[in-house]
């Protein structure tokens, strides 16, 4: 993994622009990111059923720990494999 130093004035976040929200989920690949809090998977099972019915293909992901931001590799994996992502918190 490479860490680089920000060459900018650092007044804007390093994150890139969000993609626009899709008009419809039909035909899209939707990532469901479980942050691994208890019963988040139960909640996401319901979401998966609901959006599969809308014509989306669902791919499931989970963070190693809910206490830390998702690792860069996981974010990249989701960004390259999915058209949209839903991050779920349950407790």
């Amino acid at each position: 993994m490479t860490t680089v130093l920000d060459p900018t004035s650092e007044v804007t976040p390093v994150g890139r622009e969000r993609t626009r929200r899709p008009e419809s989920l039909a035909g899209l690949t939707v990532g469901l990111l479980d942050i691994t809090k208890p019963r988040g998977d139960v909640f996401l099972d319901h979401i998966e059923a609901a959006i599969t019915a809308l014509g989306a293909t669902v791919t499931r992901y989970s963070k190693p720990t809910f206490a830390k931001p998702a690792p860069a590799d996981l974010r990249h994996e989701i960004a390259t494999q999915c058209d949209a992502v839903i991050e779920a918190l349950a407790d």
Partner: protein, 476 residues
């Protein structure tokens, strides 16, 4: 890093002196309780409880080991003294063992410690000491291509950049004596303060060598002035950008090109230093094309155009002397200009003819219909220069004779004359106008030894309302 009491040695297998003194180390381990830290092989000099693995170089780095073998004496947790390399008498008196190293050569120098090896030292400094760098860390994903990641984040000028890792930035900072957190200037258009560290980050990305950094700093200082007016230079729709001329001995030290293809590509210093400045304007100043940079067509020199003057080949004073510096002072001058175009004259043999030929093309700089509003730079090639040198012309004579010719009858270029609507306003009717304001023509000598071609770079809005050339000394 706490060391054991008594004698401590730091060694590596890949060192002939360390190999040679293995019997000495064994004797001291047995008789004096020596502990040996091994940098590259934990089984060297022996598999034993007196040999400690230091392949992570933690002990070596924290104890500033520069040479192996190093022998230290530790008392009450602190180093009392140390010796390096092998000198038999020194080791005997240091350890108090009179017969130490019998049969060995009297003296052998040591080898470089792995902890100061230039390929690993920056990494160790970051791991153990903290790099001292303040910039935000940006973590790239494992599956992300580093070069692509730089494009994705909008940090490049359209060409690939070198990813600015901490190690590379630390090496870059070795090119200047200035502290990393020194604020150098305020970068337009967004007027952000910039530190030496931030300059170094962009210099890494541009492909600079560490020794270029002082030139990057001087060039940046030159454009970030009210006089140069970088904000205006950026947002004008004209196809102009900073053009940098380097003078002084640093041209040779950094191997700048002042000869063949001088305004072209192929030389690292010429290409990467101005590119670093442009990346800074983009990344720190926020001056990206399509944003504040509103140029209608731009020009290829906006990737970075810097060249050195051929001072040695010229009989005239240098460009930086014209700008008020003493000969032999390292400097960068920033001039705002469009791309170069040729002065094509392969026939003139007399200085008078060549002068008139050059003047005829200078009259068309920016537009033959306009005068006084814009400066220009004339880059005279060696073969063209030889015409003036052979005739004994001084720079002053060249300028004076040129000024006489560069006078325009305003009636010939008034708006509407010859069916062209562009031109000088009617109030100039009946007047004779100089093409350039006083001091507006910049004269530089550069180019390859053969070829009867010089170049003109038309300027931009000149003077207080636009941009004036700015010279800055290079301070290493």
């Amino acid at each position: 890093m706490q060391l054991p009491e008594g004698f401590v040695a730091v060694v590596k297998r890949d060192c002939a002196t360390c190999e040679m003194i293995v019997p000495v180390l064994e004797q001291l381990a047995t008789d004096r309780g020596l502990i040996v830290y091994s940098q590259d092989d934990p089984t060297f000099p022996a598999v034993s409880d007196w040999v400690v693995d230091d392949t992570d170089l933690v002990v070596s780095w924290h104890n500033q080991i520069e040479t192996v073998p190093t022998l230290l004496r530790i008392e009450n947790g602190a180093e009392v003294e140390r010796i390096v390399g092998w000198a038999v008498e020194q080791w005997r008196s240091f350890t108090g063992v009179g017969d130490l190293g019998r049969g060995l050569p009297e003296h052998r120098p040591g080898c470089g410690s792995l902890s100061v090896d230039p390929t690993v030292a920056p990494g160790l400094a970051i791991a153990f000491g903290g790099s001292g760098l303040a910039a935000r860390r940006v973590e790239l994903a494992m599956l992300e291509d580093d070069a692509e990641a730089m494009f994705d984040r909008g940090w490049t000028d359209g060409l690939p950049v070198v990813p600015p890792t901490q190690e590379r930035v630390m090496r870059m900072l070795e090119g200047t004596s200035r502290a990393a957190d020194d604020i150098v200037t305020v970068v337009p258009p967004n007027l952000h303060e910039i530190s030496v560290e931030k300059i170094a980050i962009n210099a890494v990305m541009a492909g600079c060598r560490p020794e270029y950094l002082p030139v990057v700093i001087a060039a940046l200082e030159a454009v970030c002035t009210d006089e140069f007016n970088m904000h205006g230079v950026l947002c004008t729709t004209m196809a102009v950008g900073p053009v940098f001329v380097v003078n002084g001995p640093i041209r040779h030290a950094l191997e700048f090109n002042s000869g063949m293809n001088v305004l072209g590509h192929g030389n690292r210093a010429n290409a990467t230093i101005p590119r670093a400045v442009q990346l800074i304007i983009r990344n720190v100043g926020g001056g990206a094309p399509g944003g504040i940079d509103r140029s209608t067509q731009g020009n290829p020199g906006k990737l970075g155009l810097m060249f050195a003057e051929d001072e040695e080949g010229s009989p005239w004073s240098s460009y930086s002397e014209d700008n008020g510096l003493a000969a032999g002072v390292d400097s960068v001058t920033a001039f705002c200009a469009e791309g170069p175009h040729l002065v094509f004259d392969q026939v003139s043999r007399s200085p008078e003819s060549l002068l008139r030929s050059m003047a005829s093309q200078l009259l068309s700089a920016n537009s033959p219909r306009l005068t006084m509003g814009m400066d220009a730079m004339l880059v005279i090639s060696p073969e063209h220069m030889s015409r003036f040198a052979a005739a004994g012309w001084s720079k002053q004579r060249f300028r004076e004779e040129l000024d006489e010719i560069l006078q325009v009858d305003a009636d010939t270029i008034l708006r509407g004359v010859d069916g062209i609507e562009e031109g000088m306003p009617a109030e100039f009717a009946g007047m004779t106008l100089p093409k350039f304001r006083p001091g507006g023509l910049q004269i530089v000598h550069a180019g390859g030894p053969a070829g009867l071609f010089s170049s003109i770079l038309g300027g931009w809005l000149a003077g207080d309302k636009g941009s004036v050339p700015v010279t800055r000394q290079v301070i290493t």
